[in-house]
Symmetry: C2
Subunit: 424 residues, 2 copies
């Protein structure tokens, strides 16, 4: 059996997870995959992370050029995170003919188009199953399954932090701030949670998933992005009463000859398969023109699931698979692709109003005038001369909704538009 | 672009579905996969199926040897079903160096070990994504994803007919016979439904899935098999009251150094991801030692989803992928693998008894004496001197349960043991 040598750059949670699997399952991988994988170097700033994990310190290496120069190393795992120095380090590895396996969605979303040509030129692979949805093999599925299908849409719950927070709010009836604090205490959210709660992380992943699903480059900057920070306990309660869960959805779909790509909170009907994806779990719900609806579900993050995806890619790389994406990966949206921003969607709208006769009628008239059809409207009993009306609309164009809201906001009895959330 | 020629053997529902996709999406496949696929022959008994579908009759071919001799044909789709003549035809194609794509789970479960060596010898591929779970890429996932993981268990709802019947019984409260009739009317069940309702189809598929998941040959004859014909409306109602759905599960799991492989109805807790897989949908729920729990969900059958899996395999074959299974595929269970038949499982047990004092106590004593712990017991109010007691047990060995039931059946106040169903 061939002994294959690899290296790990960055021994954090995910890198450590990959190392553990390679160590624990070494024999099993030899037996089932016919390859004996040995970690020769672990690159990090200092030796502390190795010591903490009880990893032999002779694996420690701080010199990226030494690593690049070692011809024995065939594959390098990058689990440093962030754009720099990860990008420079990956470029060095690819330039020296080593395949790279990365979990770095931010780097990939921003620089895939720069990295892939280097991999291509040097005939080595760039693998990133671990960049999206932990151990769920969604990158493989989009790249190597249902190739005869035209994928019509991809809906994903692809950020574990926000799904944990929204599930917590739904389960406990608590508000956003309380759920966030609990997520931070449990290590599900960072001290600065912006990348997750503002939807950046989901947008990075959607950029990768949508590019593969639609065979065209979808830069993450093209993606409409709205986070969950404005979702209130009241919204969650209203959703539940109406038969919905609120989820942060990443959506990619064809519309005519265009594409919609967006990340935002959305009402999901309770009997939709995505509604039951709760806590830190993730799922991708995909529709092909022939395969119909498929869902891929699993842990979205964590050392072991993400480590599993990395090890899987390492084995793929060592077996010599080096396929590249099939579209013009220039980092720019293909000129022929029309990006649709006038989304069509149902809406949940919560309006605080003065408790006076005729308010509901005046608001409804505005919706009607703008061709927005109301599916359900409920007005709560008033208190202190104020009340709230909750509307669910049928699918309507984004512009028609915005125009309506603008006019409704100006009505004399309307105090404020408290919430606007799209419906899947 | 290279023009690739293929043939289809058997133009039924699935073969027709594959033909439709290849025709409708020909341009899209050219654009995204870089291959132009042309169907050169359709082999069938007569030309009628082609005429019915409006397919040019010059594609018709009734001579399998002519097809085998045509060097232009690189890949052959087999969608005839059944063991013969499909097996002989596939052998001819493989022997003449053509890769074969099949949806034939029965043939595969029975003859995989005979077909693969022929493929290997002639350096061509044998593909069968379409044999299990329609368009859900579970064969790819088991073969080419989470390769660093040791799969611990596979739970599948992998027969659409039985899942439709059980969902219908659960939704409408109807009995098995009524639900079966409806399934037959809608074309979900055959006139002779035995292959589905007695669990053969699920056992064929489990044989394939378990072999791949555990990297060892699991012949379908090793699989414990029990169908759904004895599941009553009362069982479904009891399940629902206790918080469960009844599903026909295909289960493969490691137990110590052994394997359990079994197909039978099972109580599934309503908040388990598998419980919400209803109607004709299928799902495979898989646990790896590092990747954790994953679920793959989608349409389990039908012309378009199964056709999609076939086209996907055709493209894979045309791209030159010909990997074989990684275990000793001798058709026999590896001598080192211990097959566990004393399953450990919770049980639902429904006992009809005379409505007399002390019955519950006497039955409970028997369970206790056999080390079976009761999780819940409910006795319905009696009528005409009879009543029923429903037990849910904690996990117990199959032998202990059978011993208990044998003794309980002999108790004087016990009329009959009406139902015994395992709990997931």
């Amino acid at each position: 059996m061939k002994k294959k040598k690899i290296a790990i750059m960055g021994l954090g949670t995910v890198g450590g997870g990959a190392y553990d699997i390679l160590t624990r399952n070494r024999e099993y991988i030899m037996k089932t995959q016919g390859v004996d994988i040995e970690v020769k170097y672990i690159l990090d700033r200092d030796v502390t992370p190795l010591e903490k994990r009880g990893i032999p310190t002779e694996l420690f290496c701080s010199d990226v050029d030494k690593l690049a120069a070692d011809k024995e190393i065939e594959v390098v795992i990058e689990t440093m995170g962030g754009v720099q120095p990860a990008k420079t380090f990956i470029e060095k590895m690819l330039a020296s003919g080593k395949s790279v396996v990365t979990a770095n969605k931010e780097l990939l979303a921003k620089s895939w188009h720069e990295l892939e040509p280097i991999a291509r030129k040097n005939k080595c692979g760039l693998f990133f199953e671990a960049s999206c949805v932990g151990g769920v093999p969604i990158i493989r599925a989009l790249g190597e399954s249902f190739q005869g299908d035209r994928v019509e849409s991809v809906y994903g719950i692809i950020n574990g932090t926000t799904n944990y927070i929204l599930s917590k709010m739904s389960k406990d009836g608590c508000d956003y701030a309380t759920a966030l604090k609990e997520a931070q205490r449990l290590g599900y959210a960072e001290a600065n949670p912006s990348s997750d709660v503002d939807g950046y992380d989901a947008a990075y992943k959607l950029s990768i998933l949508a590019s593969l699903a639609f065979h065209t480059c979808v830069p993450y900057g093209c993606i409409y992005r709205e986070g969950i920070t404005k979702v209130s306990a009241r919204d969650i309660e209203n959703a539940s009463r109406l038969g919905y869960e609120i989820k942060l959805l990443a959506i990619g779909k064809r519309k005519g000859d265009g594409l919609e790509v967006r990340v935002h909170p959305a009402f999901v009907e309770k009997d939709h398969a995505l509604a039951s994806v709760s806590g830190a779990f993730n799922a991708v719900y995909l529709t092909g023109d022939h395969v119909g609806n498929l869902m891929f579900y699993g842990a979205g993050a964590g050392a072991a699931p993400t480590g599993s995806a990395i090890v899987s890619d390492v084995i793929k790389a060592l077996k010599g698979d080096i396929k590249y994406c099939d579209f013009d990966n220039s980092g720019k949206l293909d000129g022929k692709v029309k990006l649709v921003s006038d989304f069509t969607s149902g809406y949940y709208i919560d309006v605080a109003v003065e408790d006076k006769p005729g308010v509901l009628s005046r608001i409804s008239t505005v919706f009607g005038d703008n061709d927005v059809s109301i599916k359900a409207a409920t007005q709560a009993p008033g208190e202190n001369g104020r009340t709230a009306i909750v509307f669910l609309t049928y699918a309507a164009g984004e512009k028609a909704i915005m125009r309506s809201l603008d006019e409704i906001g100006k009505l004399s009895s309307v105090i404020q538009i408290s919430s606007v959330i799209r419906v899947l």
